[in-house]
Subunit: 379 residues, 2 copies
């Protein structure tokens, strides 16, 4: 089951399943509103269910599609497809806040969940963890850094960790003077040196906000305190993350910068499958570099770490305001350096609450978006 | 139980146990003939048993020691101390061929064995594996590279490996022109840039013979074919080795270059203990480099890989001839570049047999030493 099949992770996940036809079969696809892509995927994959969350797009799909798959629509459709008895594993690669509802539905139905949706843990980590605990379940992280940490933890005991180290490529502006990054265009910011990703996450990489989100996700995924999570700039992105243990040993996961590798592992876990993905040749790479990250040079990372420490609904606001600010940057409404300022303004205005339900999340998320939009208008 | 307590690994192992007094207690010590060191260690550690393999040294120790430990002597003493019911774990850090007898005794007595003795696997790997299989036991490797591979394999399945990559610092002459290394003195060769080790292993590092031995050890330890074992030069010795899996993922073990780290893990396994060993700071290290190794530039490595592939008693001869040649170099009898030539000459003269017993090993080992000595005399 691929939720978010028209996005970058969704398409790469389909690629992975097509490379392993004896191991995986896609029985359902869900997307937001991209009818053309869905029609192509329906033809190629022949699933049993398909869902478009946007009702109008779903009607359009129904009109243009005559195959055997059952067409579902809206939030109800997404809930149905996230809980199907036929599915052994749900990949939640939805971009945006409707991903949280799908995560909670899948957990309620006790479905094995491979998670690539940022909102689920960044914006509602405590809520998701509470539901997981109730069901005695764990999430498999798809994100390359967290998947790397997950792999490093195979056979290890979480109580024997001294820290987790998330590597960061540093994005396209690493090592460039700050003034230069203040004048960048969306095209420059979208030109990520290492990873093929969606537009928002590419901008979030350039601001290092993405690394802040990943710190929050690691905290919730592995249940470790923030003081045990570090960020290390590693421009080659060959070491995908590291775990340091109490004895002083470190384990690292390495590989080519190809999201299909963590996607494959999240599907095959706890086994590994033979793949035809490119192999890493360290002698060809020749060298790996490492730098400390200074939060004074990375305002978005600093905002994320502060919001993380404060907890409650601050990370929810962080995520929502960031999405609005990044959209505004991509559509040319604001400059690159304004992204952090806008998020900061919204965070400062926020009265935090505990996110105890999806309703709480929706209220805070909507407030933060609304507030961020008006800050953008005034910028 | 520390066998080889006066050597480099033995002394560092004692250091490890003294740092963890609540976790470990040394109940016995064995060494070859270093009475002075043993007397100091007896005073410091107060074990129940002590053994000197050299009978004369044992008599000397008895004359000078009045403490409560039982003093054992000779091969019989070593066998007794390797099989003591009181010992939970035996560290075999004996340098040289008497280590093989201790390994086999400990296996026969079903003792958990942490192995640092090279001869056991390099010179008699098939024999040791046959005995382990009979007892349904596994060895814990202490050597930093193999301990790293062992750690990377925690929770993983050997059938899902595509290769094991042993890192090599390259020794003190890596990157230097070949002519320069031909004129080196023992002092220069003993000046290893990364690891604090015994004299023979330091010279074996400089010739890369040590890496050849490690390839043979990895083959026997993990039961993987030689074509799946690679050597990668990594001058900083921060990555201690890597495993590549069939999906394209790699796991690496990293840490400071301190043998006490793998020694500690081999004692605490499968748990990890909090240690006060130095922590690795990758941002301080700044960069890691990697190079392919060319066997054409490393005659000793090439000899080792050929002897490994040929199997039978060739690795036994390789080890014995190398020990003689390295001794001859250290005592100034031959030049650095002659080490490989002498080993090659002995290997070429060898009629291989199957090493099916310790007697077979002793015959081949003695033949190879004798032959190597006479080649040294003629050089």
């Amino acid at each position: 089951m691929i939720l978010g099949s028209s996005g970058s992770i969704g398409r790469q996940a389909i690629d992975v399943t097509l490379s392993h036809p004896d191991d995986f079969r896609i029985i359902g696809l869900a997307a937001h509103k991209n009818v053309d892509t869905l029609l192509r995927q329906l033809e190629e994959l022949n699933p049993i269910f398909v869902c478009l969350v946007n009702e109008e797009a779903a009607r359009d799909l129904k009109a243009r599609y005559s195959g055997p798959a059952k067409v579902l629509a809206g939030k109800e459709g997404l809930e149905e497809i996230s809980t199907l008895p036929e599915a052994d594993l749900i990949l939640n690669a939805i971009v945006g806040s409707s991903g949280l509802a799908a995560t909670l539905s899948a957990i309620n139905a006790k479905k094995q969940l491979a998670l690539a949706n940022k909102e689920s843990l960044v914006a509602a980590g405590d809520l998701v963890n509470e539901r997981l605990k109730k069901q005695n379940m764990r999430l498999i992280p798809v994100d390359s850094e967290h998947n790397a940490l997950w792999q490093c933890m195979v056979g290890e005991d979480i109580s024997e960790i001294s820290k987790m180290i998330l590597t960061a490529s540093g994005g396209p502006f690493w090592g460039k003077p700050k003034e230069a990054s203040e004048k960048v265009t969306p095209e420059q910011a979208l030109d990520h040196p290492r990873w093929r990703m969606g537009r928002r996450v590419t901008i979030d990489s350039a601001t290092l906000m993405n690394k802040g989100f990943e710190v929050i996700e690691a905290h919730h995924l592995f249940g470790i305190p923030y003081e045990k999570i570090e960020v290390l700039v590693h421009p080659q992105s060959i070491i995908h993350s590291l775990v340091e243990f109490v004895d002083g040993s470190l384990k690292a996961h390495l590989g080519p910068t190809d999201m299909r590798l963590p996607i494959l592992y999240s599907f095959s876990w706890p086994k590994r499958l033979q793949s035809t993905l490119e192999r890493l040749d360290l002698a060809k790479v020749q060298r790996l570099d490492f730098f400390n990250v200074r939060t004074s040079d990375s305002p978005c990372l600093a905002l994320a770490l502060t919001a993380a420490e404060k907890g409650l609904s601050y990370p929810t606001v962080l995520n929502a305001a960031d999405e609005v600010a990044v959209d505004a940057f991509l559509s040319g409404k604001i400059g690159f350096a304004e992204i952090g300022n806008i998020i900061n303004t919204v965070l400062e205005k926020h009265d935090p609450i505990t996110i105890g339900s999806i309703g709480d999340f929706e209220v805070v998320d909507a407030w933060a978006r609304d507030r961020a939009e008006s800050v953008v208008l005034r910028t």
